[in-house]
Symmetry: D2
């Protein structure tokens, strides 16, 4: 399953180089990830009742700048998953069809005491939705 999110860069996200600052892209990835979980049928508000999706690693590759006034399409999908981890991948395309950025985020599942958990055991419903969203 691929989930697409329209991104309108905000003025505040520009920097004095006249482009969107590189630190903004992981924020957009998060917006895409949140929407992915909504579409998957298990929104963040539900996840955060007894779990956290902690970030282990972020990578982001910048091919061309984004600018204020652009309309971007962010695509989010699951790259891989296990009972304890999940990795998302992202791609951002601008209004000219150019891939301007892509990246990944790796996460582990934590309980409310910040301990890693096996969600296949603790939350099989969520685990099955992830499996389904990855295969589709």
């Amino acid at each position: 399953m691929k989930v697409t999110t329209i991104i309108h860069p905000r003025y505040v996200e520009t920097d004095q180089m006249g482009v969107i600052h590189h630190s903004i892209y992981p924020i957009w990835y998060e917006v895409g990830r949140v929407q992915f979980c909504d579409v998957m049928g298990y929104p963040f508000s539900k996840i955060e009742k007894d779990l956290s999706l902690a970030v282990l690693k972020v990578t982001s590759v910048y091919k061309a700048p984004a600018r204020f006034g652009d309309q971007l399409v962010l695509t989010t999908q699951i790259k891989s998953y296990s009972k304890v981890k999940i990795e998302f991948e992202y791609e951002i395309i601008n209004q000219e069809g150019l891939i301007i950025n892509y990246g990944t985020t790796e996460h582990c599942w934590l309980n409310n005491n910040f301990k890693p958990v096996n969600i296949a055991k603790i939350n099989p419903t969520l685990y099955n939705l992830i499996t389904k969203a990855t295969l589709e």
Copy 2:
């Protein structure tokens, strides 16, 4: 009591106008407010054990731009206080001695259930420190 904080604007805080974005100043006010509480002898980490200092109002007046590379001096002091509220005022001066911005933040004290509380009753130590910091 006036507490001064040196601010080095961050590159990410610039926008495509080539100046520091106006939304950053309330963040700097918060940095000043946190340092004020440290100097007053009651750091935020201690406040947040059983209280929150919720924001009721922010005002910020912009007289001249700040730029990346500037070295700014932020001055923080208490403007007024009561048993349930506190108001801070701020002034930012650049390396040329120019006042570039000033503003205020109004707050009320909340307990952990987000209910307003009388800190003169609930935490007289903190209330006395505020009284002292205002008179000094």
Copy 3:
């Protein structure tokens, strides 16, 4: 003319109090202001060809917290204007119909040398659109 903008608070915009940080609201105001100019028929990208809309003052009043997962409606309108200045006002309502925040931003028009200009003279088209958008 009133322009409404749907705001979905971002996860990154929360703080450890569990609510949206107060510094985010001026950013949302800007998103509303940008959309206002789009609807008015004079987008920011066109404004910024030879002008800047510098911020002189921001006020923001917080009545109730916003949270991640909320769906907010931001209303933006012109409060007052002259040949050299413009003031916008904003109101944010949550999904329960509660006004959680309102505020204002005051601006002046600058040319590319950061000098104040009379837009009724320099750009009568823009000035007329502002007049129209205020009366409607």
Copy 4:
């Protein structure tokens, strides 16, 4: 050459998980990078007179959370460089001596028309400082 920067996490940088949001670390890397260039003898303000240091890639690995109230030490150094590119690496240690995060940023040199340039040709002084800073 290794340059160390003290980081006091800001309240605004926390999220509702009670920790510093993962998108903040690339901002801290930039603070370290700016200080590195200052120490190297070629500050960003000088670089940006005729060059830009565009970001090509960011990676960030999160080993343990940072919290408001922590005092962090960020170490910045050059990992590799050529006539057209430069890669920095970063490490963040908390007050308990724990490495909580490390990462890299890759950059290329652009002129004011956003075209890649060979700085060994265009700016040998800067290139020599980079060489020296890498060897030291």
